[in-house]
Amino acid sequence: MQESANNNVANNGYLEIISFHLGKQVFCVNIMSVREIRGWAPSTTLPHSPPHVLGVINLRGSVIPVIDMAIRLGLPAIKPTERSAIIVTNIAGKLVGLLVENVSDMITVNNADLQPAPDVLPAAERALTKAIIPVDEQMICYLDLDALFSTDEDMAA
């Protein structure tokens, strides 16, 4: 998957991402996997769901799950505010809402700027981070949503 991503990156030359904050850290996802960005709204909790699954919301008639990205990425849980946002993504054909603290920017980066993540994490964890993108003074962690979802399933299994 990393390879295909890399190939993809290499082919396009440029990559459009949407960056967001979780605590002090900045993460980003590929804009092509984003369907919509919404303000935060309370979700309906599902019974026996894992801690990072907040529940489900109604998106124009279709029910989609909402995941607290902070918990999913091993960070302290986000306290949702009016300025929080839900990024609705299309992961492997399924719509999933990601609760983030703050959507910060829409950035176009050169593929050459993508740098691989260091080899210090276990393989499963490292698979979540596709690359690190340095923008200005910031370091943006480029997340692999497919991995996120598949790992999620693995964990659930």
Partner: protein
């Protein structure tokens, strides 16, 4: 005629007349009362009987009417009528044979024969069966109601049944034998006149079937739904009526009540006669005609039962019959009680008459006897005999009065003799006393002449200045007081003049002292006046200063009031500043809210721009331009968000500033309040200073006026000291002339020798020689007098003046001296 005869005769006559008149009157009243009573009783009885009778007859009517409604009667009548038809043409004789001639019971008890059917008879008659069925019931009904007989009659007039079976049984009521009897009339009255809804009555008349005994009948139609089917008739129970009328209670031995028909025949048997009187005895009276109505008539009745009777009558109206009830009683029985009453009254009158004659005789004797004795005594007194004995003085009546009057005449005669004797004695005594008085008068005149001579002599010597004269020979008793008073006066005058000459010596000594003291006083008064002037000047200065400070204090008060006003105004400004800051805070809050809205809009715009960006990215190359626009919008949104945030910070900051400003202003206000309080306190202090200054000024004015007064008084004192000096000189010369006057008298005692020595000394020499001890009988030393100059000293001259005043009365010339002395003491 003598009174002793007249009195008893008059009493007897009076008694006879009064008793006779009252007896006759009471007899009259009694007899009429008894008569009325009897009549009332008769009226009550006759009314009661009438009511009883009417009630009885009304009940009888009701009974009959009720019976006619009874179904049994109709059924029985139909039965008998039906059976009558089977008896053939000669039914009358057949039934009379069966139930009268062949009846085993005698006449009067035939009703007990229930049936003529013999048990062994082969032929059975239905009439006998019907008779057997109803006879017992109908008999009992008639007996229980007192009816004398009961008949059932069909519409043809046949008596188809009767209870008692007299000759009228089974006869026809239209036959000649019966149609004019009571029963026939009743039948015709019902059937002929077709009266079916009420009873018909036939009055008492002789009735052949029962042996021409009187009988009355009453009947009623028996009605079915088709109309009348027969008649029931009863014979009226005469026995019951007789029972009502035979009650004679309350009517004495001869009284009774009887029932009369319209012609006056009795229709109830009289209980007072043994034979049957019904329709045979007649009461023939005019009253009968009047007694047809319901009113009760009273009167007398002659001839009935051979007696003269009182009678009360009234009418009974019943179904066409006109009856009267009469109650009567023999007059001889009614009058018996009157005779008894008359005899009793005559007996009692006779007894009273005898008693009255006896009492009146005794009473007149008791009066005439003492009068005769009194006449004898009066005759003797007229002849001059005063030794008479009078009896009956204690009687309370007019005779007692007469006896007491005679006693007064007797006592007057005795007293007259006594008085004549006493008058003779008095006359001789008076003559003797007059002679004694003339002798005493002559002696008295001689003594008086002697006393006048001596007194004239003494007074002449006194006018010559000789105070040694005394009257030693006593005068007559009544004038001796004159002599003693003269001696005492001369003695007193002598003593007084001796005192005067002694006091003149003292005055001479004191006058010198007085002059030295006056000089001393004059000097000190001058010193005092000087001091007072200095004091007055100093006081004026102080007053000016105090007034000045008072003015300053008032000014300060005004200033303080202004300061207070300023602080109050500042407090108001502070309060306004605080409220203005509050308004600023409110406005900041409003701005914050608006900015929040702007922030929210910026956020939403940002989200929209992001979404637009996402859409543009997905559109690839075609969305490039749109992505740029979206980016621009995002930047704008971010800028507005940033600006909102900045404004919010600024607003928050200014809010904090406002808060601290409010705190500062509030502290300023507190400080101002504190200042106001202090200013008030200062105001109070200054006020009290001003008050104190005013009080001081007042005090100083008072002191000033006091000093002025003192100054005046000091001036007066100085003037008075001069006057005192002058008076002292006059006093000295006065004393000298006084000595000359006193020396004219020749006094008893040792003084007259020294008096001329004192008068010889000249007045000025006396002033300079004041300190000489010989001239100062009183006062220890001159030094002490000068040191204690301001103290009042009892002046010897004053003592002397007092003495003189006591002796001769107050002298006018001494007043000025005494007044100056008073002033001296006051100072």
């Amino acid at each position: 005629m003598l009174i002793s005869r007249k009195l008893p005769l008059a009493a007897a006559l009076l008694t006879i007349v009064s008793i006779g008149v009252s007896s006759v009157v009471s007899l009259q009243i009694g007899s009429s009362a008894v008569n009325e009573k009897i009549v009332e009783k008769l009226e009550a009885v006759v009314d009661g009987r009438r009511n009883q009778l009417e009630t009885f007859l009304a009940n009888l009517q009701q009974d009959l009417a009720a019976t006619s409604q009874n179904n049994l009667m109709r059924i029985a009548l139909e039965g008998f009528k039906y059976d009558w038809g089977f008896l053939g043409a000669d039914a009358t004789n057949e039934l009379k044979r069966r139930y009268i001639t062949e009846n085993p019971f005698p006449e009067g008890e035939r009703q007990k024969y229930d049936t003529a059917q013999k048990p062994d008879d082969a032929k059975i008659s239905s009439y006998d069966q019907t008779h057997e069925r109803y006879n017992a019931q109908l008999r009992e009904m008639a007996e229980s109601r007192g009816w004398e007989d009961f008949f059932l009659v069909d519409m043809n007039g046949n008596v188809i049944y009767s209870v008692n079976k007299y000759d009228d049984y089974a006869s026809n009521l239209r036959s000649d034998a019966l149609k004019n009897t009571g029963i026939g009339r009743v039948y015709e009255g019902i059937v002929g006149a077709n009266i079916i809804d009420k009873t018909v009555f036939a009055d008492y008349a002789a009735y052949p079937p029962i042996g021409n005994q009187p009988a009355a009948f009453m009947g009623h139609a028996l009605n079915s739904q088709m109309g009348p089917v027969g008649v029931i008739i009863i014979r009226v129970p005469t026995g019951k009526i007789a029972e009502i009328m035979s009650n004679t209670s309350g009517l004495g031995e001869t009284g009774e009540t009887v029932l009369l028909n319209s012609e006056g025949y009795l229709i109830s048997d009289s209980v007072r006669s043994p034979e049957n009187d019904m329709l045979s005895v007649k009461v023939d009276s005019d009253l009968l005609q009047d007694a047809k109505g319901s009113a009760v008539i009273t009167g007398t009745l002659d001839g009935y039962r051979n007696m003269q009777a009182d009678v009360a009558m009234t009418g009974v109206k019943f179904d066409g019959a006109e009856w009267s009830v009469a109650a009567l009683i023999d007059k001889s029985e009614a009058g018996a009680s009157m005779v008894m009453m008359r005899n009793a009254i005559l007996g009692i009158s006779l007894l009273l008459l005898l008693g009255a004659i006896a009492v009146s005789t005794w009473f007149s004797r008791s009066m005439t006897k003492p009068i005769e004795a009194l006449v004898e005594n009066m005759r003797r007194l007229a002849e001059g005999d005063t030794t008479i004995e009078l009896a009956g003085e204690n009687r309370k009546d007019e005779i007692g009065e007469m006896v007491r009057s005679v006693a007064v005449f007797r006592n007057a005669a005795i007293e007259k003799v006594e008085l004549e004797r006493e008058a003779d004695e008095t006359r001789s005594q008076t003559e003797k006393r007059r002679h004694d008085r003339e002798v005493a008068k002559a002696e008295e005149a001689a003594q008086m002449q002697q006393a006048v001579d001596e007194l004239a002599d003494g007074l002449r010597k006194l006018s010559d200045g000789d105070l040694t004269i005394r009257l030693d020979r006593p005068f007559m008793e009544s004038l001796d007081r004159l002599r003693l008073d003269f001696n005492a006066s001369v003695e007193k005058l002598n003593a007084t003049l001796s005192d005067v000459s002694e006091n003149i010596l003292g005055i001479n000594g004191d006058t010198g002292e007085l002059r030295a003291a006056a000089d001393d006083l004059s000097r000190r008064t001058e010193q005092q006046a000087a001091s007072l002037e200095e004091t007055s000047a100093a006081l004026d200065e102080i007053t000016a200063t105090v007034k000045n400070s008072s003015q300053r204090a008032d000014e300060a008060t005004i200033k303080v009031a202004e300061a207070k006003q300023s602080t109050e105004t500042s407090s108001k400004v502070v309060a306004e500043a605080i409220s203005a800051m509050g308004r600023i805070e409110d406005a900041s809050g409003e701005i914050s809210k608006i900015i929040n809205v702007i922030d929210e809009i910026a956020f939403q715009t940002n989200l929209l721009a992001l979404n637009a960006g996402v859409e543009a990215a997905r559109a690839g190359e075609a969305g490039k331009g749109f992505a740029v626009v979206a980016q621009e919008v995002r930047e704008l949104a971010q800028r507005s968000a940033t600006a909102a945030k900045d404004i919010k910070d600024l607003i928050n900051k200014s809010g904090d500033e406002v808060k601290s400003g409010v705190t500062l202003v509030r502290e300023t206000g507190d400080a101002l309040g504190l200042i106001a309080e202090h200013v008030s306190a200062i105001n109070d202090q200054i006020n009290s200073i001003a008050t104190a200054a005013r009080e001081q000024a007042g005090g100083l004015t008072e002191i000033n006026s006091a000093v002025n007064q003192m100054d005046q008084v000091t001036q007066q004192n100085a003037a008075m000291v001069e006057e005192t000096t002058a008076v002292t000189h006059r006093l000295t010369s006065g004393a000298a002339s006084l000595e000359n006057l006193v020396s004219q008298f020749r006094l008893t005692g040792s003084h007259p020798a020294s008096v001329p020595v004192r008068t010889a000394m000249p007045a000025p020499a006396r002033q300079t020689a004041a300190p000489v001890p010989a001239a100062r009988p009183k006062g220890p030393a001159g030094v002490s007098a000068s040191t204690s100059g301001s103290r009042p000293v009892q002046s010897p001259a004053r003592n002397m003046l007092k003495t003189v005043a006591n002796a001769f009365g107050a002298g006018k010339s001494n007043n000025s001296t005494a007044a100056s002395q008073d002033d001296w003491e006051e100072f």
